[in-house]
Amino acid sequence: MLTSINPTMKAFAVLIPALLLAFTFDPLTPFIYLVFTVAVTFFFSKVAFKRWILIFSPFLLLAVSFAWMTMLHPSDAFSGGDVLISVWSFQVTTESFWAGISLGLRSLSFAALSLLFILTTDSTKFMLSLMQQCKLPPKLTFGILAGYRFLPTFRYELQVLRQAHRIRGVGRAKGVKERLHQFRRYAIPLLANAIRKAERVALAMESKGFTGETDRTHYHEMTIDKRDWIFVSVFFVMFFVSVFLSYQLGFLNIFGKDF
């Protein structure tokens, strides 16, 4: 199952192929990888399709607009080929069309890879694993975890602030100047509270014997075993498989160069 893969290893398995994908400018390579990622997501985790598609759909919209922009404004390298359609003074050529599709598919691959990581990883375990495997200092690890707990409080407090200001008769801000002013009004109480809370949490942590030393025991021992290595390898190998496939089918294009 994806949830039990070591989070640091999972991060590598997702990050490196994503970086490599950025250099493939043909449509087939990212498409194969996208299908692979989505398949892994649903076969090896309990992520509900409904939840997944809900988070994924905004990226779909984004990808379509990326693709469309690229088609209309291609760089010189991709403006060759026959004209497919023309809108006003814009002409979409075959080359720019495929360049756009490729960009869209690449962004979707990134989104799918990120979702695979986010939806199957416990944030606490990820931080603990970074500390245990990547030697992230405990001060930073537990600092980030403590900050993470505050995010919902922050949102709640902003909502209360809005209501309180509405009661005072402050309307919605119009214009840049007023908005800047309003930002300042919200920022002061939010920051004042945040600093106070941060101070208190730091004191509470030290009172519980936290010193920031790296020499500590671990309740959740994060280990890397064979399974994690296999998982990473599969993700790497799959990248080269998709490159090889598109090379065989004559699509491959890396950084603007056909092979």
Binding site: S123, T124, F142, G143, L145, A146, Y148, R149, P152, T153, E157, V160, L161, Q163, A164, H165, R166, I167, R168, G169, V170, G171, R185, I188, P189, A192, N193, R196, K197, R200, V201, A202, L203, A204, M205, E206, S207, K208, G209, F210, T211, E213, D215, R216, T217, H218, Y219, H220, E221
Partner: protein
């Protein structure tokens, strides 16, 4: 209980502490000793540096802040400065006031593990220790829950559990119950009481609300406003013999002591000085000629019925968030000059109800009338003029940079002339004792001043309705009293006031009507005195009877038992 034969655990010698080396120190020349297994109650006016002292005691200050310290602290014969970082924290644990900011992990289990990891407990032993401590504080079922979903009382229990994992010899409690509702507070104190008997740690308690702690206290140490020790001694000596000194420093007496002193005009027998409710009742009984049932200090101010007119009414209002129903079929009406409390346990929907009344939220179904006009027909601007709302945290309502501008803000919006503004603001400043802070930044005021300012900003005209969300939460007794006096003045001017509160003594003293919200429904509405007669409703809504009623009920029980005994004895005589 004699503690004298115990060895000293922590001694403080001529200790001073301050933040700014150029200014007067916050704590001056303190000398005191905490013995093993001793329970000390540490009291003093707000701002006298009690919390700073507690952090000095466990070695975090002055290092954690830019401060300086002088003098010596000796723990078990060894100077505190000779301990390695983190070492002394295993010996001296602290539970802090704010339940929201004591944790760095998401779930209860992980938070407890964090403490164990800090002291390098071997992994194999952790699970067992976590389970043991959770059952000791009664949270075994909450092990895997995220901490932010727990009630305030349970959060404090988690904080307590994680500190107890260190097995401290001294436990410092820095107002751990100040932010809890009365029932949870009582529960927490009982828990400390029983844990103390099992585990033999020394206790150093910083508190404002003393009554429930008193039965377990060995010694009281009081600070004065200037950071010196005012007095120390056994609780009965301190509270019964040093009343004048304490009052002068603005330290509030326990209500038990106040009750006794009022009846006796200050002269109490050395041999019989009650410190718990259990002891107070027989005391009152044996001094029957002096007093009988405790009466209200301040009568709720009652206007003539014929002067009252309905200012606000809510009919069949329901509200839900997403699919979750928050409030169901609520009916509420409010008359001019009325003081109404909304009570209930955390998450019952009290604040949501207040927001619906204020018009910030709109209900799914039902109708709302303000001054005989539908809410929907009011313009935002006009509605805010006749209805004020004071938030729990006054800082949220501050918009400008000076106290003056803060009060003038609403008037400027309403286009009042400059002279009139000047005059009104000065009047309000005077009335709320803020004149000397006219040009201060609102954020720089003290807690009580902030609260007063937040009320003042709502009073440009006398509003018809004024809503308060837990106005006395986390405030000390003095500020609470001031605030309630202001509220009563407004009430006499005809303003209808609604406030959400946890404090049943406030309800008992000041309110004419009380609504109990439980599970999204109003489970009771009527006079407070009627509510005190309904134990099931009180229990379900996690409310605690006010002090006055508790004592009177105990007294009644005592009388009844006596009568029964009398009857039995009479019988025995016949035979």
């Amino acid at each position: 209980m004699s503690i004298k034969h115990h060895r000293p655990l922590l001694s403080v010698e001529n200790f001073s502490f301050g933040y700014d080396p150029d200014k007067e120190p916050l704590l001056k020349d303190l000398t005191l000793t905490i013995h093993q297994q001793e329970t000390i109650l540490f009291i003093g006016p707000s701002g006298s540096g009690k919390s700073s002292f507690s952090l000095c005691l466990n070695g975090l200050y002055p290092e954690a802040v830019e401060g300086w310290a002088k003098g010596e602290m000796i723990y078990n014969g060894r100077s505190l400065s000779h301990f390695k970082k983190g070492e002394i924290n295993k010996e001296i644990g602290v539970v802090f006031q704010d339940p929201e900011s004591q944790f760095c992990m998401v779930t209860v289990e992980n938070e407890l593990a964090f403490t164990l990891e800090n002291i390098k407990t071997p992994r194999e032993e952790m699970a067992e220790k976590i389970d043991a401590i959770l059952s000791a504080v009664g949270l075994a079922e909450e092990k895997h829950r995220p901490i932010h979903e727990l009630s305030g009382g349970n959060k404090q229990k988690v904080a307590l559990a994680s500190v107890l994992l260190l097995n401290p010899k001294l436990l410092i409690l820095d107002e751990p119950t100040a932010n809890l509702d009365p029932a949870s507070r009582f529960e927490f104190i009982q828990l400390i009481h029983s844990l103390k008997q099992e585990r033999d740690f020394a206790l150093f308690i910083i508190e404002h609300q003393l009554d429930d702690w008193l039965p377990m206290v060995d010694r009281v140490i009081a600070m004065n406003r200037h950071g010196n020790i005012l007095l120390e001694g056994k609780p009965e000596d301190v509270f019964y013999n040093q009343v004048e000194k304490l009052k002068k420093e603005g330290i509030h007496l326990p209500r038990i002591v106040e009750t006794v002193l009022e009846a006796h005009e200050g002269k109490v027998l050395e041999t019989n000085r009650p410190l718990s409710e259990g002891d107070l009742v027989p005391w009152i009984n044996s001094n029957d000629h002096l007093m009988n049932p405790i009466t209200r200090e301040i009568q709720a101010c009652d206007l003539w019925a014929n002067e009252k007119s309905e200012v606000l009414s809510i009919k069949n209002v329901s509200f839900s968030r997403g699919k979750k129903s928050i409030l169901k079929e609520i009916n509420l009406s409010l008359y001019s000059g009325e003081l109404v409390a909304i009570v209930g346990k955390n998450g019952a929907g009290k604040s949501t109800l207040l927001q619906l009344i204020s018009g910030i939220l709109s209900p799914k179904t039902g109708s709302r009338l303000l001054l005989n006009k539908k809410y929907e027909a009011w313009s935002e601007h006009d509605m805010r003029k006749v209805m004020g709302y004071v938030f729990q945290n006054p800082e949220h309502q501050f918009i400008t940079d000076t106290v003056y501008d803060e009060i003038a803000f609403g008037m400027k919006l309403n286009g009042v002339s400059q002279d009139k503004i000047e005059q009104n603001v000065n009047q309000l400043l005077e009335r709320f004792h803020l004149t000397s802070h006219k040009w201060s930044n609102p954020f720089a005021l003290s807690g009580g001043q902030k609260r007063r300012l937040s009320v003042a900003t709502m009073l440009e005209d006398t509003p018809s309705v004024l809503l308060f969300d837990e106005p006395t939460f986390g405030q000390d007794a003095q500020t609470t009293k001031e605030l309630m006096q202001m509220i009563q003045t407004l009430q006499r001017q005809g303003t209808a006031i609604v406030f959400v509160t946890h404090d049943m003594d406030l309800v008992d003293t000041y309110c004419e009507k009380v609504y109990v919200v439980n599970g999204g429904e109003v489970s009771f509405n009527g006079k407070p005195d009627e509510l005190w007669q309904k134990p099931e409703i009180l229990h379900e809504a996690k409310l605690r009877l006010p002090f006055r009623v508790r004592i009177n009920q105990l007294l009644e029980n005592l009388h009844q038992n006596k009568k029964k005994q009398g009857v039995v004895r009479a019988h025995a005589n016949i035979h």
